[in-house]
Structures are given as C-alpha cells and as structure tokens.
C-alpha cells in the first residue's frame, strides 16, 4: 500500500521575474503525480508576484511609529518599516484599529486579535526574513492564494495544491488551497517545516500519495 511521503523540491532562487507555476513545473513537474498535493511556500509565491518593498521606498506614518513601539522586539512589526509595509496593504487606520482592539482583547486575555484583523501584518516578513537578495526587503503575503493553488492543479494534474506559511516554531498555516482540499490536514502534515528554515531554496514540497492514503483512512 502506498504511503505518505514528503518530497522537497530544490530550485534556484526565484524572483519577481519568475512565474511560480512555471517554476513548479520546471523543477518538480517530473515528480508530481495525480495523487499528490503540491505545497508551495507563501513567501516565494509573494516574491514571484512582486509583493515586496524596500524600507527606502516607505515613508512611515505616525501610526506606524506609534504601534511598532508596542510590538515584541522579535516580531516583524517591531520595525517601523515592517509596520508601514503592512499599513500600505491593509490601510493605516485599519491597522491602528486592529491595534486598539488587540490591546483591549489582551486585557481580557485573548491574544492574537491584532494579527487576526491586520492580516498583512501577520504575513509580512521584515528585512532579514528571507534569503538574499530579498533579505533587504520586506516581503508581504501572497495575493490570490486560492487561484495560485488552482493554477498549479490545472498545470500539473496533481490531486491538490496549497500555499503554506510554515516556520520552525511549529507554526503551520495554509493561506490558499485548490478546491476540496482540507487545509487543517495539510497544515498538520507540514508542521515540522519540510521547507527548511531557508524556504527559498526548497520552496516546493510534494506530499506523495495523499489521495490514496486519505481514501484508505
């Protein structure tokens, strides 16, 4: 009986000159079957979509200068440019509102409200967050993740596809899926971060035999 297997697909550094679906076909196409799930790292999808900016291109607002002071120093939003980058996507008033609501929620011991509302803040990687040459950029979350996943399925003929945000701290989130894919199940399979710490070098992971193993359970 077939077993689940996670296969990492190394690529060259992908940039905004690349198309993520073309890259998947080029580097992993020979290994993708009709029972497989193709998982792709969200930061690389965002980079290929040109979803990044440089601190030098941003003019921090007073809202960014205010809020970043209350973010944990290790968070991407602790830098005014990371915060401003999120505000460019979500809007500065929305992020400020999310911050105020998040602060009130914390009083009632409900963490995570800020990032739940300000989605761009939760998905942004600050400077140093990605591999060179994007280590000097702030990388946003990807756009239209579901559509990207559908395109992957159409081009490769795989069973399903997901855009995943996984890190070494046992955080695994699925940002987009093709139709019929259970995001929670896939997130659990990726919990050990098979992409590796530098996900730009192995931005694609194929979950082999997913369809038949799921059907047997």
């Amino acid at each position: 009986m077939a077993e689940l297997e996670l296969v990492c697909v190394p690529t060259r550094i992908l940039t905004d000159n690349d198309d993520i679906v073309d890259a998947i076909v080029e580097f992993g196409g020979h290994n993708i079957g009709p029972e497989d799930i193709v998982c792709v790292a969200e930061s690389v999808v965002a980079i290929t979509q040109g979803q990044f900016t440089r601190p030098e291109e941003l003019n921090p607002s007073w809202q960014a200068r205010l809020i970043n002071r209350f973010i944990h120093p290790d968070g991407s939003m602790s830098s005014i440019y990371g915060m401003q980058a999120a505000m460019e996507i979500d809007g500065k008033w929305k992020v400020l509102g999310a911050f105020i609501l998040g602060a009130i929620a914390k009083v009632f011991r409900k963490p995570g409200v800020f990032y739940a509302i300000a989605r761009a803040a939760s998905l942004a990687d600050d400077v140093t967050g990605t591999m060179p040459p994007f280590d000097k950029h702030i990388v946003h979350g990807p756009k239209n993740s579901d559509q990207v996943a559908e395109k992957i399925v159409t081009r490769t003929g795989c069973y399903g596809a997901v855009v995943a945000d996984v890190n070494d701290l046992k955080r695994s989130a699925i940002l987009g899926t093709s139709r019929g894919i259970d995001a929670k199940k896939i997130a659990q399979l990726l919990i050990d971060n098979p992409f590796g710490n530098d996900s730009q070098m192995t931005p694609i992971v194929i979950i082999k035999n997913y369809a038949s193993v799921s059907a047997a359970k």
Binding site: P60, L66, R69, S79, I80, T128, P132, D135, K136
Partner: protein
C-alpha cells in the same frame, strides 16, 4: 454658554492628547533604540590572506556591537577605499567585507539582526593588484590608504547610514610582503 462648553471640551481633548503624547514619548525614551556601531579603534592589524606574483590580499577584523536597548539590523555594509591616483597610481585596489559568522566572498552583505548588547566581527579584505604585473615592485612607495566602512542600520526608528574609518598603513603592507 454652548460656546463656552464646546471650548472646554476642546481644551480637555487637547490636554488628554498632550498627556498621552507625553506619556508615549517617556515610554519611547525608556524603551530606547538600537545603537549599532563599528569599533574601528579595536580593529586588528592587516594580515595576508593571499598572495600571488601580481597581487596581495590583506584582511583585518573590526568588531561591532549594539550598544542600544533594542534590536538593530545591519541591512547593508561595504568598504570604500580612498586611494586617489594623485596619491598613488601603481596599484589597482579592490575591497570587500563580510560578517565573520557568515563568511562569503561575493561582496554581498547579508542583512543581520543584532540583539541589544551583542555584537560580532566584520572582516574587511583589501586586494592590491600591481599595474605592471609585479606587486613587489609596484607596491614600493605605497602611502597609507584610508578605507571608509559604510553601514546602513534600521531598528524601531528610521534607517540611517553611518561610516567608520580604518587605515591601511604602509608598514603593514611592507610586513605582509616581507620587506
């Protein structure tokens, strides 16, 4: 009367905003910022890394530290050698730098986060290439050469560029060449 009440409300709002702003500034003052600095006075002497008939490559190490109370990120860092042809015209100079913890030789400086009160070491390379093809001959009469190390830092406040100056002394070159 209504004007008087409205004025009172406006003044109260202004005072509340002013007090909140003052409290925020005090919080910022207490929280502090990054203060990433290179320490050129503590640089090591230049040593030979590589030598051939036509060139010599030297290196020195410069410590850096984040003296501040917040994380600081060196986004970019590069050396700028200052040897105008009016001063000395017998060698071509190349310089590059890297973080000693993440060695690389492509002259690309990978951005790094430095925690408060932590630091590291920057290694600066200088390659002197003799224009006649014989470095031992070409280097004769070499004066000193200043090198500015420029670094771009970002933290909780605006990014900024600083520079630290080191100097390659003629004695160090002579020693390297065994003169």
């Amino acid at each position: 009367m209504w004007l008087y009440n409205a004025l009172n409300v406006l003044i109260a709002i202004a005072v509340i905003i002013a007090v909140l702003y003052l409290l925020f500034r005090l919080f910022v003052l207490k929280q502090g910022n990054e203060e990433v600095v290179l320490l050129p006075k503590r640089k090591t002497a230049f040593q030979v890394a590589d030598m051939s008939f036509d060139s010599v490559t030297l290196f020195c190490d410069i410590p850096f530290v984040n003296k501040g109370r917040q994380n600081g990120t060196i986004m970019d860092l590069f050396p700028r050698h200052l040897l105008p042809e009016e001063q000395f015209d017998k060698v071509k100079v190349e310089t590059w730098a890297m973080d000693l913890d993440r060695p690389r030789h492509d002259n690309y400086f990978e951005a790094i986060i430095i925690k408060p009160k932590k630091g590291g070491t920057i290694r600066v390379y200088v390659k002197l290439i003799g224009k006649s093809g014989n470095i031992r001959e070409d280097i004769k009469g070499f004066p000193y050469m200043n090198i500015d190390v420029l670094y771009q830092v970002v933290g909780r406040e605006d990014w900024h560029i600083d520079k630290a100056r080191i100097r390659l002394q003629p004695e160090e070159v002579e020693l390297a060449l065994g003169h």
